[in-house]
């Protein structure tokens, strides 16, 4: 699997760089937040999940149902950029996959001093991430405030 994905990864990296100016770190991730919508297919394959798409005004949602029971959702702007993700279920999904390059931010925050093992929060101008939960019940969300489509409010996402 790593071999077959390597070329696609390069493509996505280039695409992501074009779409998201904030993408400063090397493209080490396959897909996910801040990437192009085509990355959702990669994510679903990596998560071994099935996809269901739902259209809303100004964006659409790709739902990835994982075998473990956890539901991952990727919110895609009309320009094709994944501007938000969330997850909910009995297990924590592969966050390196769905957070893309922002997984590094997550790890850094998790290794820094914070409140307990049941939660993690990042509040930055270019990234909002919240993860929480206990054994058998985890949830979280992350979004890129500067990539939220015009006319769409995070509070409107459903």
């Amino acid at each position: 699997m790593p071999t077959s994905q390597s070329i696609a990864n390069v493509k996505k990296c280039l695409l992501a760089g074009a779409v998201l100016a904030a993408a400063l770190s090397p493209c080490i991730a396959d897909a996910g937040l801040g990437q192009a919508e085509t990355s959702v297919q990669t994510d679903a394959a990596r998560l071994k999940g099935s996809i269901k798409a739902t259209q809303y005004t100004g964006y659409h949602v790709q739902e990835i149902q994982m075998p473990s029971g956890t539901l991952v959702r990727e919110f895609v702007a009309t320009n094709g950029t994944v501007f938000a993700v969330d997850w909910n279920g009995p297990t924590v999904p592969n966050l390196r996959q769905i957070l893309g390059q922002y997984f590094n931010n997550f790890v850094a925050a998790a290794q820094a001093k914070h409140a307990g093992h049941r939660q993690l929060q990042i509040q930055q101008s270019d990234l909002v991430l919240q993860a929480s939960g206990h054994m058998r019940a985890f949830s979280g969300r992350a979004y890129l405030p500067q990539a939220v489509p015009a006319g769409v409010s995070i509070a409107d996402l459903r």
Binding site: P67, K113, A131, R136, I154
Partner: protein, 449 residues
């Protein structure tokens, strides 16, 4: 109102925060069960701010200046284990509001190939015994996966993972013994090739320093850590089969529930339907040490009888109930000795910097909430939130320690959770009854206090 009285050592904020990282949950509620009222003034002049729920905790012992569950109600017997809040394994970065006990593990059937391990965290928010490999000095037989490899587990937290093989151990806690208990050995040097689906949930928590304890004893409402899902789903994210010498571990089912990492309590011959955690009240400005009891079984002995506690049944798959706070129904709330504070979303000032996500109100906040079981039983609880930055340097038990809890979904700026961490247990006797098990007053999964 006097808050924390003494000056804060510069190192305190650092230590507390670090501790928070290492330790599990946080939350504080506190309470003096005997009074059931808020605003109790302690003898040393501190204002408590914490008080327990109106429903009352029964059987809680009185508070003392700096420690101690003492008094006439001290339980005794082979089903009673001592527990304490004392900072844990690190003297340089002690844990805050983290409950510890001591367990003895033996190779199956042996009475000599045994090891007694202290600083095992008591956690009602997880299920099963996990021991850090660097601490373990005896050899325990590893469990095999159905495919023939070694059964290895990924335990996920909201901020990282613990990876290691499943071994069989006879587990003794106080006078209770369980035979052939599947336990996880975290951070084993023999299994370092962590699958991407495990390592990609966050950083590793596989040393005593990163874990904050020598191990964790998960004594929550469920018998296994994963449960039914892992008996049929290959990609369950809990269990993997690692062939000897193989560079790759493959996801695997664990068809038998009995082979999953198991809450040791359910394997005790008797006193196996739940656990009672009994901790004394803690003064508002905290205590250096708190001593309490973990009593095994409910309604199985004279020392673990159900009383008039309110019984809150919890969700049968995730163990949660509802808390009504600020007129909002927080439907994924839980009691958790593994949380080191009371965590809930509020407009109270956050500390920032080293104490990110803890609350630092300018004066003590006295609040209340209602805990509501799936069975509809409602219990009010009063609690107070103090300034996390002003805790004295020698304090490891802080009843007013509290912080935020994240929102759950895009589309909502509201949290659905009230994480009632260890401070809730101060001054209370809290019953945790395991799924499917019965007592004289109900059937688990339920919590009662």
């Amino acid at each position: 109102m006097v808050r924390f009285m003494r000056t804060v050592a510069p190192s305190r904020a650092w230590r507390l925060a670090l501790c928070a990282v290492l330790c599990l949950p946080m939350l504080s509620c506190g309470g003096d069960g005997s009074t059931g009222s808020t605003g109790v003034t302690t003898s040393d002049g501190g204002s408590t701010g914490l008080s327990s729920g109106s429903s009352g905790s029964s059987g809680s012992s009185g508070s003392s200046g700096s420690s101690g569950s003492s008094g006439s109600s001290a339980p005794t017997g082979p089903n009673v284990a001592s527990v304490e809040v004392d900072g844990g394994p690190s003297s340089t970065s002690p844990d805050v509001n983290t409950l510890f006990t001591t367990v003895t593990v033996c190779a199956h059937g042996s009475t000599t190939n045994c090891q007694t391990i202290d600083n095992i965290q008591v956690d009602t928010g997880s299920y099963g015994l996990r021991i850090l490999a660097p601490v373990l000095t005896i050899s325990l037989p590893l469990q095999m996966a159905s495919g023939g490899g070694t059964l290895v587990e990924c335990t996920a937290f909201a901020d990282g993972f613990s990876w290691g093989p499943v071994a069989l151990a006879d587990v003794q806690i106080s006078g209770e013994s369980a035979s052939s208990v599947p336990v996880q050995v975290i951070g084993s040097a023999s299994f370092t090739n962590v699958p991407a689906d495990c390592s990609s949930v966050g950083p590793a928590e596989d040393t005593v320093a990163t874990f904050g304890a020598n191990g964790v004893l998960g004594v929550g409402v469920f018998a296994q850590d994963c449960g039914a899902g892992c008996t049929t789903v290959v990609d369950n994210q809990f269990y993997y089969s690692c062939a000897s010498g193989s560079v790759q571990c493959e996801p695997t089912t664990v068809a038998s529930l009995a082979s999953q990492v198991t809450n040791p309590i359910v394997l005790f011959p008797t006193d196996n339907n739940g656990v009672i955690i009994q901790l004394p009240s803690v003064p508002a400005d905290g205590a250096a040490t708190v001593l309490g009891y973990m009593i095994f079984g409910v309604d199985t002995e004279t020392n673990n009888a159900s009383g008039s506690q309110a019984i809150l049944t919890v969700d049968s798959t995730i163990g949660d109930f509802t808390t009504v706070f600020n007129s909002q129904n927080l439907t994924t709330s839980f009691l958790d000795t593994g949380s080191n504070g009371l965590f809930f979303l509020s407009s109270i000032n956050q500390c920032g910097s080293n104490l990110a996500n803890f609350y630092c109100p300018t004066s003590t906040e006295s609040l209340s909430a209602t805990l509501q079981g799936q069975n509809g039983t409602m219990v009010a609880a009063s609690f107070s939130v103090g300034d996390a930055e002003t805790l004295n340097d020698n304090i490891t038990a802080a009843p007013m320690l509290a912080g935020t809890f994240p929102t759950s979904f895009p589309g909502s700026e509201a949290s659905t959770t009230f994480d009632w961490g260890l401070p809730f247990y101060f001054g209370r006797t809290v019953y945790t009854v395991i799924e499917g098990d019965t007592t004289k007053v109900g059937t688990g999964p339920y919590v009662a206090f």
